[in-house]
Symmetry: C2
Subunit: 334 residues, 2 copies
DNA sequence: ATGAAAGCGCTAACAT
DNA sequence: ATGTTAGCGCTTTCAT
């Protein structure tokens, strides 16, 4: 692998002149062609480690997410990557398996790789590495969740409002015994809040027996749906607050020969490709992942290029309810 | 951010002594504690760019895959990452969206990042970057597919044999008009081959009207299943050779009110979490992703640590048929 | 427009 | 065991 020195020797030019050729300085045309000829023979590639050592820039962005099992995450990652590639930036993708310890480790790894910026779907734990990113003037944008007490910019969805809308919708269809399976993280608790608002708005009592809070897993979807059924004989609908939870919910209902939507109505979140796999297709909340991904990159690049400071702006996108066939209309008595 | 020089100044030691502290040389205990005290005050982090510039090593491995939409890919990535983390290596994950142009670009990016090794799920195109990896003594392991004419090690599955087994199974259940939806890439054509072997073995004629070859997409799954139905009125079973194709197949059958398995039996590949979403659950071929991921890392690290040369060994794992409820038993006339 | 030279932070001989 | 020093490949003043 050739270096700048090799090219300098080959052409008889100074190394700094050759460097200027690559970094867009003005060169005598004669020397320009000399270098270009050398390039044909020498197969030169700039050494990024050397360049980074000198400039502290890498033109790459770290993307850090819990895992690749949820299609919301993989879709938004894909959108981010495409946008980044278009802007001639590269991405380094890491996962932390929902484990704050590994999250800190990966945060460290990306910091050590000297990424220019970071798109982070955080666990919620505040790591000291986060402060170092700020100190070293790295640009950070959070997505899907916010981090309280920090002034990070974040790209999120109107979780609370859309869940309230969901309750509206279910109530309009005649449901009053509506269960919810959610979790403790930001999105989960926002959705729970919307659920409560919705019920209150319609004068329906909030019953703890209808609320299940656990983790974002198929396993918990199964267990919580099961327990919801045994505790609430009059249950007619359930909101499963993630793709995994909804998968678990559908699974257990199928096993128990409980029919959707005749016996129980089900609505999910973020089902993307698989919402139409079941029979009937699942009504679900969908987030505008492509726009969100694009927005994340826009913010990041603007920060990097204009050196904008962190102000903690929240960019909130509107999710929508994709109405399919998993909600039953219950005729009301007069 | 402190450097080795800062620590050297703080402790009064030479910079090389401090370097040795981090790289495991022998130090006087007295000096060791001096450095450790300095560390408490100085918050030092080795500059990886400088270290790489000097040593040409990064302790990181590139993982390059087409995309994150298929759960086979995300599962095997997860397995690779876990194994790598356990061995104190890091991973840089990139996707190329099934586009050979972007594949070359990402190959380049990872090479420029000076990864020590590469786990690649290749598009099939031979890029010049691949030769550079070899030249620069990077360690490569392919997975899921092989690259003809190269002597890269590869970790794959017995695609042909398992599909032949699948045909065996279907024939035993009384099926003779068996369609297949597959694609042109390595795994797709291997599976097609197994399909043909299976039919021949049972003395069943191979009919082109039962074979559909396209891309690995939900869209193609829908279209090809549709066309299979119209062209083959006596069709009783279909093999969908990927998760996406199977999703499309199930979708269109549902829309057309064609019942699985009473009207048509369906078997898929790599359905992982979602095989039990449908009613009935889908019988599918599953690959041992965890073992495969572990094996990929083992080979890679052995190569790196022992500087083993490329010999083109094929590591072939056995897939298995997870029999669920999407295949009907057809009673045979005497 | 071009060149000389310093230095980014580190490792690894080599000398002591 | 510790220190001195050269140099990895590049960018960037500063002269010319």
């Amino acid at each position: 692998m050739a270096t700048l020195v090799d090219i300098a020797n080959y052409t008889g030019l100074a190394i700094s002149t050759v460097s200027k050729y690559f970094n867009g300085g003005s060169l005598r045309p004669y020397n320009k062609t000399k270098i270009e000829n050398a390039l044909k023979v020498l197969d030169y590639r700039p050494n990024q480690a050397a360049r980074t050592l000198k400039t502290k820039r890498t033109y790459s962005i770290g993307i850090l997410v819990p895992n690749l099992q949820s299609s919301f995450d993989t879709h938004i990652i894909t959108a981010i990557e495409q946008e980044l590639t278009a802007a001639n930036y590269s991405s380094i993708l890491c996962t932390y398996g929902s484990d704050p310890k590994i999250e800190a480790k990966k945060l460290r790894f990306l910091l050590d790789k000297q990424v220019d910026g970071l798109a982070l779907l955080p666990s919620g734990t505040i790591h000291k590495e986060l402060f170092e990113y700020l100190e070293e003037n790295k640009k950070i944008v959070l997505f899907d969740r916010v981090l309280d007490g920090f002034s990070f910019d974040a790209v999120i969805t109107n979780n609370s409002q859309i869940t309230e809308d969901l309750v509206d919708f279910l109530v309009m269809q005649g449901h009053r015994e509506i269960g919810i399976i959610t979790n403790t993280v930001y999105t989960g608790s926002q959705r729970l809040e919307g659920y409560k608002h919705g019920l209150i708005k319609h004068g329906i009592e909030i019953k703890e027996s209808l609320i299940r809070i656990g983790s974002w897993s198929i396993h918990d979807g199964r267990n919580h749906m099961d327990s919801l059924l045994t505790c609430n004989p009059r249950l007619t609908a359930v909101i499963a607050c993630s793709e995994e939870l909804c998968l678990g919910t559908v699974q257990i209902l199928r096993e128990k020969k409980i029919h959707i939507p005749d016996d129980i109505s089900v609505v999910g979140f973020d089902m993307y490709g698989i919402s139409t796999l079941t029979d009937p297709a699942i009504t679900a909340v969908e987030q505008p992942v492509d726009e969100m991904g694009k927005n994340i990159v826009d913010i990041l690049l603007r920060k990097i290029q204009l050196d904008e400071v962190q102000v903690g702006t929240i960019h909130c996108f509107n999710a929508s309810i994709d109405n399919r066939q998993s909600v039953r209309h219950i005729p009301q008595p007069y």
